[in-house]
Amino acid sequence: MNAWSLLAQSENILWYILPLAVGISLVYSASRYEETDSVLRRAMRLFFQITIFMFVVFSVLWVLSYRL
């Protein structure tokens, strides 16, 4: 199956990563800094880091499982 169509399925539980990553980023960053602006900036950066990392892992696994 095409990777994009796999991701596009609304039932795919991978989509749960996004709200999970938002929550983790905000809470983790809030525990590091006190100032609101710092917390939000760091949370945003962490969210993108997590999302990109997960996407890379997904891509690697998809390539490895190609035609399996």
């Binding site: 539980i13 809470v27 590091r32 760091r42």
Partner: protein, 329 residues
């Protein structure tokens, strides 16, 4: 503000009290300390993650011990039926009357990841004790009477062989009586059916789930003898009696209930658990923040604000160069 200027200190008030409050309700310690923004972040993120997971798992994900399988019904049913068909019914009936006072299963380690959500998980420990208490038994002819409002279905066959399944609602009253074959439950159901008011005579075996259980409803099954004046063939009244909030909330599910949940939810069962685990683990960070203040300092420094000495130090990053001036108390 430059790196050398003093950072504002966070007033942690009483850090131990704040940590305890933060444990009980995520974010409560920060509200007590007047750190409203962080309180909102912790409260909303952790509680919504936890509630989402719990909702996905039908609010049955908190249990300290895995419910043990009490009996291999499928295998033993077939064997008993072959070996001793006459005793099979008696045996099966006795098994049906067994309560949750069974062998307890293995430790569910995930529970300890959920515990830091405090008030929403710790009561599970006490609910487990109530659930496994010897008094939490299914209602049987040897036990108490039943007088309850119920909603259910009356299934029967009439004299002409027509099968009926009628939705009913009303009051059921049953009490133990000495019957032809020993003690049995006897009573009436009065309420409304499809065609208005009905009265059903009930007698025989009764199966009613224990008062304390993981589901919001107790299932009741009793033989129906007459409907008004009409005698019923194979009459059975199945109904549900609602449990009070205290009698189902955070009560451990039984083995069959958990297997059904697995079958219904599939992968989402594990996903739901992961949500509750992560929520619990994140609250440890929030509790520590309420106790000791933010880990890296008041704010994130820009690269320009990092001093040249810190830049030269290979072990120092912009993050570690920030002020960590917060002290408990």
């Amino acid at each position: 503000m430059s790196a050398s200027s003093p950072e504002p200190k966070v007033d942690l008030k009483n850090p131990i009290l704040a940590a305890v409050l933060g444990f009980l309700i995520p974010g409560a310690g920060h509200f007590y300390q007047g750190r409203t923004f962080k309180g909102i972040v912790y409260c909303v993120c952790i509680l919504s993650m936890f509630a989402w997971g719990m909702q996905m798992g039908s609010w049955q994900l908190i249990y300290r011990l895995e419910p043990a399988k009490s009996f291999d019904f499928d295998f033993d049913d077939a064997r008993f039926r072959q070996l001793d068909p006459e005793r099979f019914d008696d045996m099966r009936q006795q098994l049906d009357q067994m309560g949750p006072t069974r062998a307890r299963g293995k430790t569910e380690w995930g529970y300890y990841a959920q515990v830091p959500v405090g008030l929403f998980t710790v009561p599970a420990f006490f609910q487990e004790e109530r659930y496994y208490a010897p008094s939490n038994q299914p209602v049987s002819p040897e036990s108490q009477s039943i007088d309850q409002q119920v909603v259910g279905t009356l299934d029967y066959v009439d004299n002409e062989g027509n099968e009926f399944s009628v939705p009913v609602s009303g009051t059921i009253q049953l009490s133990p009586e000495e019957g032809e074959f020993g003690r049995e439950m006897e009573g009436t159901f009065k309420g409304s059916g499809e065609d208005g008011e009905i009265q059903v005579q009930l007698r025989g075996n009764v199966r009613l789930d224990p008062p304390i259980g993981a589901n919001r409803y107790r299932n009741l099954r009793v033989n129906a003898i007459t409907l008004g004046e009409e005698e019923l063939i194979d009459g059975v009244l199945t109904a549900q009696i609602s449990r009070s909030f205290l009698n189902w909330f955070l009560v451990p599910p039984d083995h069959e209930g958990l297997e059904k949940l697995h079958a219904d939810l599939g992968k989402k069962f594990t996903l739901a658990k992961v949500f509750t685990w992560i929520a619990g683990l994140l609250n440890i960070l929030a509790i520590w923040d309420a106790f000791a203040g933010p880990a890296y300092g008041f704010r994130m420094l820009t690269r320009k604000e990092v001093s040249p000495e810190q830049k030269q130090d290979p072990e120092s990053s912009p993050e570690t160069a920030t002020t960590t001036s917060q002290n408990p108390g």
